[in-house]
């Protein structure tokens, strides 16, 4: 038998129940608990963003700079990557080699496209005069979306390692749990983006200069 490379302690097989007290795999439970922890992490950043809404002392303000249509496209791309993830897990579980490989690749690729959009957006914002130091909007926007982008990047690296493992034969239908756990993480990061998109790009995108603050004049 091949070594089950990343299996912790208990030998685990592709089955619905595991030899644990709850019948759940240790690693899956770990991931769920970690996601609970990550909810508090992103929740704190999103709360900070909302607390500081309309409190920038100088521009640019969201209405001057936020591009809703283009981020809608990148959001769609990220949502489609979740669909790709579901298909990848389906085919890997089923043991269909090429579709499995294709959809793992597609998940990672769509994630990369999303990152590309984000890099473009950051670059545009900096060129238009918004950096993390400019005002409270810049500070809270860049740190929140930046940490989300870091999560996506980690997910992409993870998927690429799994893809490599699929070629090497260490990711198979009998240990598709490896992919399922990465999938939990991936879907979670997607859901967090839905919240961030709603908050930044739908709710606050039209915020202008708060009372008393000078309007932003494009330089």
């Amino acid at each position: 038998m091949a070594q089950q490379a990343v299996t912790e302690y208990h030998a685990e097989v592709h089955d619905t129940t595991y030899n644990t007290s709850t019948g759940l795999s240790n690693r899956k439970l770990l991931m769920w608990a970690f996601l609970g922890s990550d909810v508090m992490f992103f929740g704190s950043f999103i709360a900070t963003y909302l607390v500081y809404r309309n409190r920038s002392l100088v521009g640019p303000y969201p209405e001057n700079i936020v591009d809703v249509p283009i981020t809608t496209i990148s959001t769609f791309v990220l949502l489609m990557s979740s669909l790709a993830m579901v298909l990848a897990l389906h085919y890997v579980r089923e043991g269909s080699k090429n579709p499995g490989r294709f959809w793992i690749f597609m998940t990672a690729a769509l994630g990369l496209v999303f990152i590309g959009f984000q890099v473009f957006e950051f670059w545009t914002f900096v060129n238009e005069g918004l950096t993390p130091r400019t005002n409270l909007f810049g500070t809270t926007f860049f740190i929140l979306t930046g940490f989300h982008g870091a999560h996506v990047t980690i997910g992409v690296l993870w998927l690429l390692i799994l893809l490599f493992g699929h070629f090497k034969g260490t990711l198979r239908s009998d240990n598709s749990l490896d992919l399922e756990i990465a999938g939990l993480y991936w879907h979670f990061v997607d859901i967090v983006w839905i919240v961030i998109f709603t908050v930044i790009y739908l709710v606050t995108a039209n915020d202008g200069a708060p009372p008393g603050a000078p309007p932003f004049l494009h330089g």
């Binding site: 091949a2 302690y9 709850t22 608990a33 609970g36 704190s44 900070t48 002392l57």
Partner: protein
């Protein structure tokens, strides 16, 4: 099926030595990691204690010039930070590591390497936090790091940046440990051990772990915010950029109040083991103790603003938090009642662990009562920032947490080492601890109500605070004496060993059913659990009302022949892991996980990467390389290397 083994080239062989320093560096054994936590935290306890003694020496007399104001700020900041993050939390973690697997009948935690990672991150994070003692610029913004005072504008040195970085590393360690114990307790229980047959200490560990997993990210975000303000000039808490100091207080205390329960719940679990053992009765109202713990953890999320009654949040918020704070006293009171009712009509045995446990109840109750006084917002407005608050939280954290922890040390020492701590010396230590503690902290109530503010480096002689301060300082030195007696006790008891046997206390839980110290594999056979306090009813089946228990020989019959260890050296039996496994009940594996260097590598990488934010970019790169090497090596390394004679 194709058999492919992915490996990366190893610079070092996988560690195998069973003794010597490398056996500790590569260890993934929960007992050894528990020992490492305990020793490291105790050393930090001495450091934090010396800081406290310096503070008390400075405050012993009026108009003292022994310590300048800036050093004084550094001392109280590092005393608080050290005692919370480097002493009480890891001492609790030491007990989690040692006794959760033993109490639930498991051979290790769910993720042994992750467990090792937690320890190394804790060690390195603690070092980062204390870098300032060598650069001459320690953190000085208080353990609460209130912004903007902790921001770069008002606190220009490197101290608070190291504080933010060090605490972030410690936070990762805590989250990893919390996740590990959540999974361990849910998933690794012996057959038959349902959740409501779990020992109370394990229950409190579970609740604490859930709090860790959920509360630490909040302080993590706050630290990232203040850190990026200090390092990169962002505006989170920069008042010139519109940053709001009240947000910091919300973030800090939203973490900080659950943190209080992270500090006290493990001690509550410890005394919930000890009081039934030495009262010869089952814990009174087990479900009430469990559900009280759960309610405390839940309500703990809705009380944070009682730290902020003087901020000016308005009457509605203040009233709501006053009420929730009073409400949280109820489950706490329920627990105190349960411990006392456990002792009522028990045949109480008085010894060091029991005395510490009883002192825990008494001192914690005093601290709890002054806590309820703070819940009344108008009264709290008078007490805010005075020594009354200092008195309160030392009664719960020292009188509560540390008394409980010392109780646990005396109780579990024989299980951990195989030999007893001397009880007479222990009682002397207990006496001086209790005496010194009360001399030290009781006068602070009066000083605080008389208006003596916290965090001042001196006071003038016309305030009339001298005698009470002098008494408090004497108390501090008596506590130090007690700690010296404790160290003497370890030395003395080690020289005059009284071997413990399996079950020296005639105790109730599974850890006492195996040799002391436990063999590497813990349980030769995974126990089958029938009842709560199962080991007790195995010994005394006639005491169980249902009376269906299969008896085993009482503990007295288990003599030294049972010990699989050389009691002198504590050396593990050779090949014990393989020899000892006759079964694979419930999937608790036959093979124990092999040792690994990757956890310490990953921890070093993370620490260097974080420290590099201060030290320079090349350190970040170095940390990144080491960390990635550790991470990739870890994920490709099988938990167990194939034995040499097995065909693959």
């Amino acid at each position: 099926m194709t058999t492919t083994t992915l490996t990366i080239p190893r610079i070092f062989d996988r560690p195998r030595s069973a003794s010597g320093i490398w056996s500790w560096i590569g260890t993934v054994d929960h007992k050894r990691i528990g020992t490492l936590y305990g020793i490291t935290a105790f050393l930090w306890f001495l450091v934090g204690g010396i800081e406290a003694l310096l503070i008390r020496t400075q405050l012993a007399t009026a108009d003292s010039t022994l310590i300048d104001p800036d050093t004084f700020n550094q001392l109280f900041t590092m005393h608080g930070t050290t005692m919370v993050f480097l002493v009480v939390m890891p001492l609790s973690a030491s007990f989690f590591n040692w006794f959760v697997p033993l109490q639930i009948g498991a051979r290790d935690v769910a993720f042994p390497r992750l467990n090792a990672l937690s320890f190394w991150l804790f060690l390195f994070g603690g070092l980062l936090l204390n870098v300032g003692w060598f650069t001459g610029d320690s953190p000085s913004g208080g353990w609460f790091g209130y912004a903007p005072n902790s921001g770069i504008t008002f606190n220009t040195g490197s101290g608070m940046t190291f504080w933010a970085i060090g605490l972030s590393v410690l936070g990762v360690a805590s989250i990893a440990a919390g996740l590990n114990f959540v999974v361990t307790i849910f998933n690794m229980r012996a057959p038959g051990m349902t959740m409501f047959k779990l020992p109370v200490f394990t229950w409190m560990t579970l609740i604490t772990s859930i709090l860790l997993v959920l509360a630490i990210p909040v302080i993590g975000v706050a630290l990232i915010q203040i850190g990026s303000d200090r390092l990169y000039g962002t505006n989170f808490y920069n008042s010139l950029g519109g940053g709001d100091p009240v947000l910091w207080q919300h973030m800090f205390w939203l973490f900080g109040h659950p943190e209080v329960y992270i500090l006290i719940l493990p001690a509550m679990g410890i005394v919930s083991e000890i009081i039934p053992t030495f009262s010869r009765k089952p814990l009174f109202g087990y479900p009430f103790v469990i559900f009280s713990g759960i309610s405390i953890a839940f309500l703990g999320w809705f009380v944070w603003s009682h730290h902020m009654f003087t901020v000016g949040l308005g009457p509605a918020a203040t009233s709501a938090f006053a009420i929730s704070t009073m409400a949280i006293a109820i489950p706490t009171g329920v627990k105190i009642l349960n411990w006392m009712a456990t002792m009522v009509r028990g045949s109480i045995q008085i010894n060091t662990p029991m005395l510490f446990a009883i002192s825990f109840i008494a001192m914690f109750t005093i601290g709890g009562l002054s806590g309820v006084m703070h819940a009344a917002a108008p009264s709290d407005a008078q007490q805010q920032d005075t020594y009354f608050v200092v008195a309160h939280f030392h009664y719960v954290l020292f009188g509560g947490s540390l008394m409980g922890i010392f109780s646990g040390i005396y109780y579990w020492w024989p299980k951990m080492t195989g030999w007893m701590l001397n009880d007479k010396i222990g009682i002397v230590m207990w006496f001086f601890t209790l005496l010194g503690f009360n001399l030290q902290f009781a006068p602070l109530h009066w000083l605080g109500l008389d208006g003596m503010p916290r965090r001042i480096f001196t006071y003038s002689s016309d305030q009339g605070w001298e005698s009470l301060n002098a008494i408090a300082s004497v108390g501090g030195y008596i506590i130090a004496l007690a700690i010296l007696i404790f160290l003497f006790n370890i030395w003395y008891s080690r020289r005059n060993k009284v071997m413990a046997g399996n079950d020296p206390w005639n105790a109730r839980t599974l850890e006492w059913s195996i040799p002391s110290p436990p063999p590497h594999f813990n349980f030769a056979e995974i126990p089958q659990v029938q009842y709560r306090d199962d080991f007790w009813y195995q010994k005394y089946p006639e005491q169980h009302e249902e009376g269906h228990v299969h008896a085993i020989a009482p503990s007295g019959a288990q003599d030294d022949d049972d010990m699989m260890f050389d009691p002198e050296t504590g050396a593990a039996p050779s090949g014990g892991a393989e020899d000892g496994h006759h079964d694979d009940h419930g999937g608790h594996g036959i093979h124990l996980p092999d040792m690994s260097y990757y956890p310490i590598m990953l921890a070093a990488g993370i620490t260097l990467g974080m420290g590099g934010l201060m030290a320079g970019n090349w350190v970040i790169v170095l940390g990144g390389v080491i960390g990635m090497w550790g991470l990739i090596g870890w994920s490709l390394e099988p938990v167990n290397d194939p034995a040499p004679d097995v065909e693959h």
